[in-house]
Amino acid sequence: MNDLIGFILISIGLVFDLLGCVGLVRLPDAYNRLQAATKCVTMGTCSILFGTLLVIGFTAAGMKVILCMIFLILTSPVASHAIARGSHKSGVKLWEGSVCDAYAEDNK
């Protein structure tokens, strides 16, 4: 039963990874692509790691999987924030259909 739930979670994670990469190819702007790609991390890869934990059980490798999930959840939003801030400061243009730019209004 644990096995079955684990494989279902791995399938959900694979679908999220694939759709995140489709968004990376299709969306028009660097910020939109970043927003699509971050879903691929938190729901995709963390779901795959949790499914792996359920399949292999609470052994030594399972503890390493929990450690990997903790590192991923801690480091990935910081990296995305750094990319967005750096690209906005370096002057990457927004897509022309964008509605507002709150960061530029704050810095004015």
């Binding site: 494989f7 791995i10 994670g13 694979l14 990874d17 694939l18 995140g20 990469c21 489709v22 990376l24 190819v25 660097a30 692509r33 970043l34 790609a37 691929c40 991390v41 995709g44 890869t45 795959i48 790691l49 792996t52 399949v55 292999i56 052994t59 030594a60 490798a61 390493k64 999987v65 450690l67 990997c68 590192f71 991923l72 480091t75 990935s76 910081v78 990296a79 995305s80 750094a82 990319i83 801030r85 750096g86 690209s87 400061k89 370096s90 990457v92």
Partner: protein, 125 residues
């Protein structure tokens, strides 16, 4: 302009559908471990990772600005962690997840360094 867009759509649908058909019909054979359960599922999972990685490599090559390339590189690193988790199940060897842990930390540090480079200031702020 209009005809070119339609042709590009048709080409994309053919490539995507062809790869999905290959994933459904023929799972990737594993050379060493024939008697593990549910090997067909894991073989198809590795095909999906290959397809997603090619999409990321396309964005790294084409991306108009540097920020697109850095985003695609970050996501490529994160997907390799998922691939390491799948390989831990399919081969039963626990050192693949050690590669995953090391890859998470290395990808974080390299992404921070690239974002700092993109920002255009000195590294010693």
């Amino acid at each position: 302009m209009k005809l070119g867009k339609i042709l590009r759509w048709i080409l994309g649908v053919f490539v995507f559908g062809g790869v999905l058909a290959v994933i459904i019909l023929k799972p990737l054979p594993f050379l060493f471990y024939h008697n593990l359960p549910r090997l067909g599922f894991l073989g198809r999972a590795i095909y999906i990772f290959i397809l997603a990685s090619f999409m990321c490599i396309y964005r790294i090559g084409k991306g108009p600005t540097g920020a697109d390339r850095i985003v695609a590189l970050d996501i490529l690193g994160i997907m390799i962690v998922g691939l390491c988790a799948i390989l831990t199940i399919s081969t039963g060897r626990s050192w693949y997840i050690d590669i995953g842990i090391a890859w998470v930390l290395q990808s974080f540090i390299s992404t921070l360094a690239l974002a700092k480079y993109l920002e255009g200031k000195g590294f010693d702020e």
